[in-house]
């Protein structure tokens, strides 16, 4: 008996220890795969645990080490490259970056807590566009980067700097334009006898979808946990989710038209829901790799997801403008984005700001943003630079059937806008948690009514902000 008790004791303590350790290791696994990301989680993919890595000049003396947070592991590759380049060019100002990768929600919540409590902010941090406005309330904890951005300003798409600004001051350094496009799996379309080049309007999309359905496949994703398709449909009509003061505008005729169309596609069986709730989740990468869905509508940064998570689709994907409404004003918009900030409490703020703006906005930086990350750079001059657009060695250009720059140049003059206002996190939260899921299901709710409900809920939640 005593023996047994001893054994039990050891066994139980071992279990305790194990579970505690396992708890430590897994505390950060809240990445977005279970769905329910808060709306515009555009770049929220899958960094599955908290990791810190240091790069740049890690051994020398007289090195300034910046603590940096991001929620996209891939971004680290850019910062690593640019830190090393900087050190080569500036022997007197050596830097190192201690980069911590955290899941999307965790990182933003942690940053918010650091600001609210006044301690523990990183020196440099990636902030997702949908979250940006909420950090600009009260005393702003971010450094005013206006004068550092000035020297690059003329080459950069102005709206991408504007979205990270308040009161004429620029607080965030943009990463990409994020032009929204359609990714077609041509294998599926060919099997159904559809040529993606003929899909210009949503009517064409519907006709093609019915053929694809008849051939036993699914045309597109009915996104229940992300508003990307709803957003593009609004932007095409020149409408928005909030007005410039941040008040929700979800019950407009344009919004109702968009959601009614989405529901029609769902009811006809053209679009179906996807595991994970939207295409930018690990479960969805699996479903897409199996070749079940013909279309994904996402900003161009989604290219990197194909390369990193769905490489069996190499050569099968064509990029094209998103279908649009007849007589629509636009057929794309800049979706998602990351503004990188320097904290007011950062050490050697001046150096941090100079490095950051150089790393992301200089010609070198913009080229690396394309080469390493596959994002459409904010410097539109590069879109026509043959050394970029015709680079045979570029892995992104090799992967896709079509050249993304052709598509970009095609839609460059018809870019709509979805503003990032203080109301957006709330509106997205309601859309992505409730409205879309209520409407896009069997016997789903009436789209107009659902949007009226969403509007009144959003108005109330935003009542005194």
């Amino acid at each position: 008996m005593k023996r047994f008790r001893q054994f039990l004791c050891v066994f139980v303590s071992a279990i305790v220890l194990l579970s505690v350790l396992a708890g430590c290791g897994n505390a950060g696994t809240a990445d977005n795969q279970g769905g329910g990301s808060s709306g515009d989680s555009s770049e929220s993919a899958s960094s599955s645990s908290v990791k810190t890595s240091t790069f740049g000049n890690t051994s020398g003396s007289n090195v300034t080490t910046f603590e940096m947070w991001t929620f996209v592991e891939l971004h680290g590759q850019l910062y690593k490259e640019m830190a090393e380049e900087w050190n080569k060019a500036n022997p007197n100002e050596q830097i190192a970056i201690a980069l911590t990768v955290m899941p999307y929600d965790d990182m933003h919540n942690k940053l918010m807590l650091a600001i609210q409590s006044g301690t523990g902010m990183p020196d440099i941090c990636d902030v997702e566009i949908g979250n940006f406005p909420k950090f600009l309330q009260g005393d702003i904890a971010f450094m005013d980067l206006t004068k550092y951005i000035d020297q690059y300003r003329s080459k950069i798409v102005p709206s991408r700097i504007e979205v990270y600004s308040k009161g004429g001051k620029n607080y965030g350094v943009p990463t990409h334009v994020g032009a929204t496009v359609a990714f077609y799996n041509t294998d599926i379309l060919k099997a159904a006898g559809v040529d993606y080049k003929t899909i210009k309007t949503w009517d064409d999309y519907e006709a093609a979808g019915l053929k694809v359905k008849a051939a036993g496949h699914i045309m597109g994703v009915a996104e229940t946990n992300n508003s990307a398709i709803f957003d593009i449909m609004l932007a095409e009509q020149g409408a928005d989710k909030t007005d410039s003061s941040g008040k929700p505008t979800l019950n407009t005729p344009e919004a109702k038209k968009a959601l009614t169309l989405m529901k029609k596609f769902y009811d006809e069986g053209i679009d179906k829901t996807i595991p994970g709730g939207h295409p930018d989740t690990e479960e969805a990468y699996g479903a897409l790799s199996k070749g079940e869905y013909a279309t994904v509508i996402r900003p161009l940064w989604y290219m990197s997801r194909y390369l990193n998570y769905m490489d069996d689709l190499k050569g099968k994907i064509a990029i094209a403008p998103v279908p649009t409404f007849k007589d629509a004003k636009y057929n794309s918009f800049g979706g998602g984005g990351t503004g990188t900030i320097v904290s007011n409490s950062a050490k050697n703020k001046d150096l941090a700001a100079r490095w950051l703006t150089w790393a992301k906005l200089s010609d070198d930086g913009e080229k690396q943003i394309w080469n390493i990350l596959g994002f459409d750079p904010c410097n539109t001059a590069l879109w026509n630079d043959p050394s970029i657009t015709q680079d045979k060695n570029n892995k992104y250009l090799q992967f896709f059937q079509t050249n993304p720059f052709d598509v970009l140049n095609d839609i460059k003059d018809s870019m709509g806008i979805i503003k990032s206002t203080i109301g957006v996190p709330t509106v997205n939260n309601i859309l992505c948690n409730t409205t879309l899921a209520d409407v896009l299901k069997d016997d789903g709710a009436d789209p107009s009514q659902a949007l009226e409900d969403a509007q009144s809920q959003a108005e109330n939640e935003l009542a005194n902000s």
Binding site: A22, N26, G36, A141, Q457, N464
Partner: protein, 299 residues
């Protein structure tokens, strides 16, 4: 010097000295935050800029549908867990404690094990087990019976059930421990004399065990009410974040977190917290009153 010494050796002072560390910690980490929360619930709180806005947060709260969804979820969860996590652990405790039970320690350990796993781990495992893809464990199991895969965590009824199952799986063992310790204090003689009088095991359970376990039951009920209303982590891990479809897993604490942290509105978050505090207090005071805790002889 002598006076100081006398002060410390004074029998009247000594007890206060002993509880002083607790009092200090309690004031710093409970009383002060509580008072501050009450203040903040009347304020609009932004980094560096805070001002009073009267009862605006409260009027907003009472027309906030999402808050009432959260309130309903928390209360539903609390009621169901109390209804399940008191009778069954009591029964299991009586069984484990019974002299007819083979390997009692083995069962005690097995039943207690889930409580040792961290919520993070168990929530993640449950999420994967009940994943909607057709090759998740649960969908494979129901597939054996010919059923179609279910989107477990996207449908309110199944989603909430998974949450309850997770809770029961984790907490049954803990409550069993409480009940076993309660059982140990029931004198053996009562059972022996009942047996001599010809009482069956069932009769013994209902006539002796249940009434004499009342103090333990009240204790377990009180902490279960509190734990039920304050639940957050289980839902957070099960849906991999604070956002579940149609807010089916949103709890009051989850809503507090969403408003206070995720939306940078600590004033409104504090208001939600105050309502939670008041609700938990009222329910527990009523419950304790009904159970006669405030009458001395009941204990």
């Amino acid at each position: 010097m002598l006076r100081i010494k006398r002060f410390f050796y004074n029998q009247k002072v000594a007890p206060y000295m002993f509880v002083l560390p607790f009092i200090i910690i309690f004031c710093a980490f409970s009383i002060y935050p509580m008072i501050n929360t009450i203040l903040m619930s009347f304020q609009k709180v932004l980094p560096g800029q805070t001002h009073f806005i009267g009862i605006k947060n409260y009027t907003r709260l009472f027309s906030d549908k999402t808050f009432f969804i959260a309130l309903e979820n928390s209360i539903k969860y609390m009621v169901i867990t109390c209804a399940l996590l008191i009778p069954f652990p009591m029964l299991f405790a009586a069984m484990v404690n019974s002299k007819h039970m083979p390997f009692p320690n083995f069962f005690k350990a097995i039943l207690y094990l889930p409580a040792l796993a961290s919520v993070v781990v168990s929530g993640t495992i449950f999420r994967l087990t009940f994943s909607e893809s057709s090759d998740s464990l649960m969908n494979e199991i129901i597939g054996l019976f010919g059923a179609a895969p279910i989107q477990w965590l996207r449908v309110s009824s199944t989603g909430f059930t998974v949450l309850i199952v997770l809770c029961c799986w984790r907490w049954t063992g803990v409550n069993i421990m409480y009940f076993i310790s309660g059982l140990k204090s029931i004198p053996r003689e009562l059972y022996e004399s009942a047996e001599i009088d010809g009482a069956s095991s069932v009769q013994q359970f209902f006539k002796i065990t249940v009434p004499l376990l009342k103090p333990t039951t009240i204790y377990v009920l009180t902490i279960s009410i509190y734990a039920g209303l304050a639940m957050f982590t289980e839902s957070f891990m099960l849906w991999n974040g604070n956002n579940s479809p149609r807010n089916m897993g949103l709890t009051i604490v989850g809503y507090l977190y969403r408003q206070g942290i995720e939306k940078n509105d600590l004033g409104y978050g504090s208001t939600v917290g105050i309502v939670l505090l008041v609700a938990a207090m009222i329910i527990n005071v009523v419950q304790l009153k009904l159970n006669g805790l405030f009458k001395k002889e009941a204990m």
